[in-house]
Amino acid sequence: MGCDAAGVARAVRAAAELVTAHRDELVRLDQAIGDADHGENLKRGFGFVLAALDQSTPDTPGAVLKLVATTLISKVGGAAGPLYGTAFLRAATAVGAASELTPDLVSVALQAALDGVVARGKAEVGDKTMVDALTPAVEAARGSTVAEVLTAAAAAAEAGAESTIPLTARKGRASYLGERSAGHLDPGARSTSLMLRAFAEAAS
């Protein structure tokens, strides 16, 4: 696909659909170790993202990403709003005014998103958060096409998300549970891997 503004908007729509389709799964995961709102919050937030994209068509990939960021920040309560908002905002800044995303720009945007999430949430790999999915995704995000970059990132994010199951949470609401958080997939890591999977499929 083309990675111009329209292509990126299609990828965002695909992510909205996939996250919405997995709402119940994310709620279940968050019920086990959090406050059970992650699935509904993301579904709701991406609903507003879709409405915003219907309203206006930003003319660069960066502007699309920024629209996603400001919508998620304003509409999603809980940690997911500011964290995903920051991720999309930093990615938007990283790609600047480019009219089309190259494989390199996608790698750079993913790195910027990770840096933003780490700065905002102060989480490290092993804390049982979305950082456990996003970090390996950034490391794996290489390829000669955007589809290759995102497919590699999505696969690494899925493995990273799975790796959170045995971990004891050290950040977020789940950290209040201490060792009882072990044995559960982290909902934030799961939603990160879902979004990257949707981006990869939209790019392929």
Partner: protein
């Protein structure tokens, strides 16, 4: 005079409003704004926090206090979006005691740094080594000793008095106006605490504390 403003960021509208109510008692001339809840339910609302920041800003700066982790993220993000790192600061402090301390400091006309310090200092339980001399020794006759409710009553009974009052137990001492500090002493029923006071109202302070302790904290 323009005073430092305060924003209370919480997941709960009622919690934020309650903290504002409490802090406002200390500071009738300080703009303290609640930013709690999201669309009528629990959550933190970026737009509400941004609006509250604008309302609380009079030119002297704004201090933001928060309840749980993601409220801090929303507060940080709102400050970051202002683009002026000196206009507002998110402070790590216990929400209630930090807000009360910040409000009292802002009321006095202190600048942003001083208000931040006052809020952050509420985190540290004031405590010092004591030599066991001076003041009066009082026997705690209630079962729980200086637990939450009695500690709060003791701190409150000193309201309006111009006196520095310290309570010592087990080789440690704390400001009698700090419920957390009092609880931290770990004095329970049957223990003897030593209360000392200095300042113009020292005698009245000691007699109020003695009366409260003698009544068994009205348990």
């Amino acid at each position: 005079m323009s005073r430092v403003g305060i924003v209370i960021v919480s997941h709960s509208a009622r919690l934020a409003e309650g903290v504002v109510e409490l802090a406002a008692q200390m500071a009738p001339d300080v703009t303290i704004v609640a930013a709690g809840g999201l669309d009528g339910g629990p959550g933190t609302d970026f737009d509400a926090v941004s609006d509250a920041l604008a309302t609380a800003q009079s030119g002297a700066g704004v201090v933001l206090l928060y309840d749980l982790g993601s409220a801090k993220m929303v507060a940080d993000l709102a400050v970051e979006m202002l683009g002026d790192p000196n206009a507002a600061v998110v402070v790590d402090a216990p929400l209630v005691e930090g807000a009360v301390a910040a409000a009292a400091e802002a009321q006095s006309g202190a600048d942003l740094d001083a208000v931040l310090s006052a809020a952050a200092a509420a985190l540290a339980v004031p405590e010092s080594e004591v030599d066991g001399q001076g003041g009066v020794e009082l026997l705690l006759t209630n079962d729980v000793g200086l637990h939450a409710r009695p500690a709060g009553l003791l701190a409150r009974t000193l309201a309006g008095l111009d006196a520095q009052v310290d309570v010592a137990f087990g080789g440690r001492s704390t400001d009698a106006r700090s419920p957390l500090g009092l609880m931290g002493l770990g004095a329970t029923g049957g223990d003897r605490i030593r209360v000392s006071a200095t300042g113009p109202d020292a005698d009245e302070a000691l007699s109020r504390v003695r009366a409260l302790v003698d009544r068994g904290f009205d348990d």
